[in-house]
């Protein structure tokens, strides 16, 4: 193993390149025309323009990426986050060319990518899922009957959906028929399959996830919980580890459940099991993400571990030398995602050139940035500029540390959401754990913007 191609861009690419460098691995970056001169292209050993700005022609271009990998004779490809990271086709294309794909096997991706099938498998293995269909539900009559049984609101989801697409919440019976048919139609058009499933829509839930790592030798370790309820329109804004305001017993139950799930699907490499936690302390399996997550640094902070390095080692078939009892979290970490957007104008993206960039630092402060001063935030991709991750001995310390780090952060040329993040950090609901996944939309935005 001596070289890795990073099939991604921006902050994620920088993150992966840095670990590769630390391990003495050569790096090959691919970039689209829009990312010419981007920071990640400069720190990689080699950078190749792969196509125009449109992701379909660049970051999603499987034959193109494989061709570059062959020319540069790389040993492995890291897909990063988003783009091709959950594409089993890409994993198979790598395998065919004898290139190590740093991520899970295609079969696990296919299984977990089919949400209805995943739900069915969880039910068969007594993993708690929200009340709803056993798996895919095809007939309207059957679906209508089930919806009436479990009670409204219900949520209809496309089995192959993702990124917030192919989901509809139905609040009353009379709208069920039209919405059900609509989701099926949308799913067929967007994901090529009209398979859908039904769940009870749970309100006032928290989003808590468990980081797992499996070495492919049957050993699965977890790296604790993350609290990710601070989100807007399914986009996370702030995450923390470990998840606060839950009992140690409940936390252990969730962690054990995540490990069990990874074993059921014979998972390998890093993955995240997402759960919904209700007010009365019940948790349900939502889905499993078959890749590294944006918020992985909070876990890295409390476990003092480099998860990208772990991914590479698992891909190299290295076996765990530690057991779960040796893996101990300490302290608390918070990540704030800083995006080029204007919260006051309904979070409108604010692409443009970064004129000034002053990054906070200090003990326990980590900043993962995809950009440097003078770089341009492209309108073609997501608007995340950087992440500020602060570590403290406890949650209070991490909150204060985060607040002051954001205070020191200075970015000009584009609008950013750092004041909004500070508003979260200083809100008493956040401090007291009185939040849920719709809290930002229902409470904070209402308070700040009316």
């Amino acid at each position: 193993m001596n070289s890795v191609l990073i099939a991604n861009r921006g902050e994620v690419a920088v993150r992966i390149i840095r670990t590769c460098k630390k391990l003495g691995l050569n790096t090959v970056a691919i970039y689209s025309e829009a990312d010419k001169d981007s920071y990640f292209t400069k720190i990689a050993d080699h950078a190749v323009c792969i196509g125009p700005a449109k992701a379909e022609k660049s970051y999603l271009n499987i034959p193109g990426i494989i061709a570059v990998a062959k020319v540069y004779d790389v040993c492995a490809i890291h897909p990063g986050i988003g783009f091709l990271s959950e594409s089993s086709d890409f994993q198979r294309a790598c395998e065919e060319q004898d290139i190590t794909f740093i991520g899970p096997d295609a079969n696990a991706m296919d299984l977990l990518g089919d949400k209805a099938r995943a739900r069915q498998i969880m039910i068969e293995n007594s993993i708690p899922v929200p009340p709803g269909s056993d798996g895919e539900i095809s007939s309207l009559e059957e679906a209508q009957k089930l919806a009436d049984e479990i009670g409204y609101p219900v949520i209809i989801k496309a089995s192959h959906g993702g990124g917030g697409g192919g989901i509809r919440i139905v609040f009353e019976k009379k709208k069920f028929k039209s919405e059900f048919l609509l989701v099926k139609q949308e799913a067929k058009a967007a994901f090529g399959s009209d398979s859908v499933y039904l769940e009870k829509y749970l309100t006032q839930t928290r989003h808590i996830e468990v980081q797992i790592l499996a070495d492919g030798f049957g050993n699965v370790l977890h790296f604790g919980t993350r609290e990710c309820s601070m989100q807007r329109k399914n986009q996370k804004l702030l995450e923390e580890a470990p998840a606060p305001f839950i009992s140690d017993v409940l936390r252990k139950e969730m962690e054990d459940c995540a490990v069990k799930i990874a074993k059921i699907v014979e998972y390998k490499n890093a993955g995240t099991v997402e759960f919904l936690l209700t007010e009365d302390g019940k948790f349900y399996f939502m889905e499993m993400n078959t890749r590294i997550q944006v918020e992985h640094p909070v876990t890295e902070a409390v476990y003092s571990i480099d998860l990208i390095k772990c991914q590479i080692q698992v891909a190299l078939n290295h076996k765990f030398a530690l057991s779960q009892d040796k893996i101990i979290a300490r302290g608390h970490a918070i990540e704030c995602r800083i995006n080029a957007e204007n919260p006051a104008e309904d979070f409108k993206p604010s692409p443009g050139k970064i004129k000034e960039l002053q990054i906070p630092s200090g003990f326990g402060v980590r900043v993962d940035s995809g950009y440097v001063r003078g770089d341009k935030i492209s309108p073609f991709y997501d608007s995340m500029i950087l992440k500020v991750i602060c570590f403290g001995q406890n949650r209070d310390e991490a909150i204060l540390s985060s607040y002051h780090a954001l205070d020191e952060l200075l970015i000009s040329g584009v609008d950013i959401n750092s004041d909004f993040a500070k508003a979260i950090l200083t809100h008493e609901d956040f401090e007291n754990g009185k939040f849920y996944t719709k809290w930002i939309e229902n409470v904070l935005c209402a308070e700040l913007f009316g």
């Binding site: 193993m1 001596n2 070289s3 391990l23 003495g24 691995l25 050569n26 025309e33 080699h46 190749v48 323009c49 792969i50 196509g51 125009p52 022609k57 271009n61 034959p63 193109g64 494989i66 061709a67 570059v68 062959k70 020319v71 540069y72 004779d73 790389v74 040993c75 370790l221 476990y303 003092s304 571990i305 772990c310 590479i312 080692q313 190299l316 290295h318 076996k319 765990f320 030398a321 530690l322 040796k326 893996i327």
Partner: protein, 274 residues
């Protein structure tokens, strides 16, 4: 915390030796592109869609099902029937440049399972010009297809008749025309695909004889070149003169097909023929 005992095996100084990659420059937009990226993009510029010239075997790889192509007349090559000055030398160079014995490759193959005869001209061999052997190879292919009851597809790319073979090369126009008429009489389909450039004696014979004539975008298709015509008629010609799009408007071509869609289009046509 060290989670693994094993270390990443990456001895210092043994870093990957990356050979210097080859880049192509697009003639249309001027951008540099890694050669392999052009290849994976159907020999099309990833930025502006410009169509790079394709060697015949690459075209066959793009169109025929894997390992289905069976070549005929592979070793046939031109000699110098008229003892034309420098022709022998030119043939040698052409062979070296293209790696081929002649300007056309013929054989049978399947396209998405549909069996067909396939001929592909190669402009890297003396600009795909038609001499005795090109004509002969087309005749052999068509005769074979008549026997086997197969349709024929010809990808044209040619500067015209090969002047070094004089009248013999012009004779190939009638030879190919006659043999393709026989194919039609046998009730078999002939699809002609015009690529950049299709000109001269090839246009004036088999290229325009297709039951269905397809063309790649922006290809130059004509008999005499635009400069000659402009001088002859003593007038300025329309911008798109002799280009695929212009000819399609005038009804000379049945369809303009992008390179990436070509295999699928041919499959559909063959499925109808069956």
């Amino acid at each position: 915390m060290e989670l693994f005992k094993e270390k990443i095996d990456n001895p210092k100084g043994k870093a990957n030796e990356i050979k210097s990659p080859e880049f192509l420059t697009c003639q249309e937009c001027g951008k540099e592109i890694l050669k392999e990226l052009v290849h994976t993009n159907f020999s099309t510029c990833i930025y502006c869609g410009y169509l790079f010239r394709i060697p015949a075997y690459n075209r066959i790889e793009m169109i025929a099902d894997e390992n289905s192509f069976v070549e005929i007349d592979k070793t046939k090559k031109s000699n110098d029937p008229l003892n034309f000055p420098d022709y022998k030398e030119k043939l040698k160079i052409a062979k070296k440049n293209s790696g081929l014995n002649e300007a056309i490759i013929c054989g049978t193959c399947s396209i998405e399972g549909y069996k067909t005869g396939l001929a592909v001209m190669d402009s890297y061999f003396m600009m795909g010009s038609m001499g005795q052997v090109v004509g002969e190879k087309i005749c052999d292919l068509v005769e074979t297809c008549i026997k086997k009851k197969l349709p024929v597809i010809i990808f044209c790319a040619s500067g015209g008749a090969r002047m070094q073979e004089g009248m013999i090369s012009l004779l190939q126009m009638s030879r190919t025309t006659i043999v393709l008429n026989k194919l039609g009489d046998a009730g078999l389909l002939y699809v002609s695909v015009l690529t950049n450039p299709t000109t001269g004696g090839v246009t004036a014979s088999f290229a325009m004889q297709g039951d269905i004539i397809l063309a790649e975008p922006k290809a130059l298709i004509g008999f005499a070149g635009p400069r000659v015509i402009a001088q002859t008629v003593n007038d300025t010609l329309p911008d798109e003169f002799q280009k695929t799009e212009f000819l399609a408007k005038k009804g000379m071509i049945d369809g303009i097909v992008e390179r990436r869609d070509m295999k699928d289009k041919l499959k559909k046509i063959l499925s109808l023929h069956k």
